[in-house]
């Protein structure tokens, strides 16, 4: 008589509870809405792609959203400021920048939706833009708050 290994496992631990499903929540950074609006103007389907991205991440946060879904290069500027951030292409020129943390809930921080030009990662790469954008994302200050604080700091 043949008995499958899985059947034996189930028999060995009949009361083993099912794993608790992981809850996924999202948070938007201060650049998120403006960057998304800007991307939509040139590429209306970006909204649809973001919905696909969020659905995929809600189902399995660790599964990459396509082959481009990776952390920033370890030697790059972005890695210095955003150690845990990743980016995934929504189109050949547009990427979503995000970060994963925790489990149940897993929080997905949405930094923004940017073109290669926005990120300074086009050809040729623009290190000044990369540094400025990395700082902006790292701080996640809104422009208004930044102006206010700068005025305060300058007395």
């Amino acid at each position: 008589m043949l008995i499958s290994g899985q059947w034996l496992k189930n028999l060995a631990s009949p009361s083993k509870p099912n794993p608790v499903p992981n809850t996924v929540v999202f948070e938007r950074g201060s650049l998120w809405t403006d960057s998304l609006r800007s991307a939509v103007k040139d590429t209306p389907l970006v909204l649809q792609k973001i919905a696909e991205f969020e659905r995929a991440k809600a189902a399995n946060p660790l599964a990459p959203f396509g082959s481009s879904d990776k952390p920033f290069a370890s030697e790059g500027v972005y890695k210095n400021y955003l150690q845990k951030a990743r980016k995934a292409h929504l189109s050949p020129d547009i990427s979503v920048v995000y970060e994963l943390s925790g489990r149940n809930p897993t929080t997905i921080k949405l930094y923004g939706v940017f073109t290669h030009a926005d990120l300074g990662t086009g050809q040729p790469a623009n290190m000044k833009i990369q540094k400025n954008m990395a700082k902006r994302m790292a701080n996640s200050f809104s422009e208004e708050v930044e102006q206010f604080l700068n005025s305060l700091l300058q007395g």
């Binding site: 996924v24 999202f26 201060s30 939509v40 209306p44 649809q48 996640s140 200050f141 700068n150 007395g155």
Partner: protein, 68 residues
């Protein structure tokens, strides 16, 4: 001092960065509190359904197609 000069994630490093440039007349610890209060202006957590609703509203506002 410009705000974008202050990008230190740790409390100690932020304090030192602000302190090195603080010519405001305010206590450095108070300036740090102001910066921290505005730092990381994240939306707070929301669910997938709430996010899809937000995207749908944006699509309607901008007049672009959205099927979800």
């Amino acid at each position: 001092m410009k705000l974008n000069e202050v990008t230190q994630p740790s409390e100690k490093a932020l304090f030192e960065a602000v302190d090195a440039h603080n010519d405001t007349g305010l206590l450095t610890e108070d300036v740090v509190k102001i910066i921290r209060s505005a730092d990381g202006l994240w939306s707070g957590p929301f669910t997938l359904e709430e996010s899809i609703a937000h995207l749908r509203a944006m699509a309607e506002e901008l007049g672009v197609p959205f099927e979800a």
